[in-house]
Symmetry: C2
Subunit: 181 residues, 2 copies
DNA sequence: GGAAATCTACTCGGATACCGCGTGTCCGAGTTATGGTGG
DNA sequence: CCACCATAACTCGGACACGCGGTATCCGAGTAGATTTCC
């Protein structure tokens, strides 16, 4: 199992689409934004699981949600101020790369109670892992949703953005009308 | 669950003790080195589990094992040429920090078969994680067993090294004699 | 007294049990727009 | 024409089922030194 969960992957891909939305046609003023189910089915990921991810993102202050019919989600901040690390933190929490079990204190020669010099400060092995953890996070903090979105738009043809917009538009437009049919 | 397993923690602590051994009294010439059970019980970690860790370390070429009675383990290379990353790799294997599921190819607008531009190259999100993974490994490669051992000997009083040596000496000496009693 | 047999301690490898956690699903509650109904 | 009500669509939150993989243990096999036995 990977340290960065698949939930983070789902969330990042979904966020990329609504980051595109916002930059594509200006900030929609609160109605018509895609719902979590739309974003999930657009990418073939489990819908209810994705819904849970967005409640975490909302609690972390990364997205704003609109309840009720015609509700949905949009970014709470500009895409260039949301880093990959923010998303990882929102979904996975402060999961440690390494959990120190204080083996150093169990040494048999101490006979049960370890002296102060052995348990003071952070364990040397733990310290290495903490540095590695920080290096990892620095790299994740260096990339924002805007960076990812830009990289994607460089590869994709212009028609792709329109196709996605149309797909989402169809969904939001047909939400109610479908019930009439 | 942490990305770096507890097995790595056990292994590193054990290796620290035999790194000390070697630097303490010169390279023992093949007999009398502590066994995996000794190292495990010295630190209160599961013995049989530790034994399995050392077979992995041996396959990775980090330690040499001597079979049979009075057998044991010793470093296969000088302590300053074994990095923390080497141990992580030997125990946990090439575990990825993040497993890309190619979500980008599942986009509904593709209708099943994604075009080449969408699946070529590495996914942008995956690329960020790969950079983070490399940054993490660089930090782990920067610290060797010798560094860790040095940091420990700075904190510990001189008596500690002697106590540990005595404890191990007692074990190896009493291995056979115990059966006589 | 020396050589072979035996015993013991150790590593090696496979098989297996346990269990926490990530993944995914289901359902009820609360919220808001839409459409219909009655005054 | 307006107020009211029912309905549908959506988010929110808790509860729960499932399965994988890390942790740990057990046991048999192979190996080598120490001890005993036998000639």
């Amino acid at each position: 199992m990977a340290h960065v969960s698949t939930g983070v992957e789902y969330a990042l891909h979904c966020l990329l689409f609504i980051a595109d939305e916002r930059q594509g046609n200006g900030a929609r003023d609160g109605r018509g934004q895609p719902g979590t189910r739309d974003l999930a089915e657009l990418q073939g990921v489990p819908a209810e699981f994705t819904a849970k991810l967005f409640t975490k993102l909302q609690k972390a202050g990364l997205v704003e949600t609109v309840e009720g019919a015609h509700g949905g989600v949009r970014l709470a901040r500009p895409a260039d101020s949301i880093t990959v690390d923010d998303v990882v933190l929102a979904i996975d929490g402060e999961r440690a790369l390494f959990e120190c079990r204080e083996i150093r204190a169990r040494c048999a020669v101490f006979g049960g109670d370890a002296p102060g010099w052995a348990t003071s400060g952070t364990c040397g092995i733990h310290a290495v892992m903490l540095r590695a953890h920080e290096a990892m996070r620095r790299e994740m903090q260096a990339t924002t949703l805007a960076d990812l979105s830009l990289g994607l738009s460089r590869k994709a043809p212009a028609s792709y953005g329109r196709d996605v917009d149309d797909w989402l538009e169809d969904r939001t437009a047909n939400r109610i009308r479908k019930s009439q049919a």
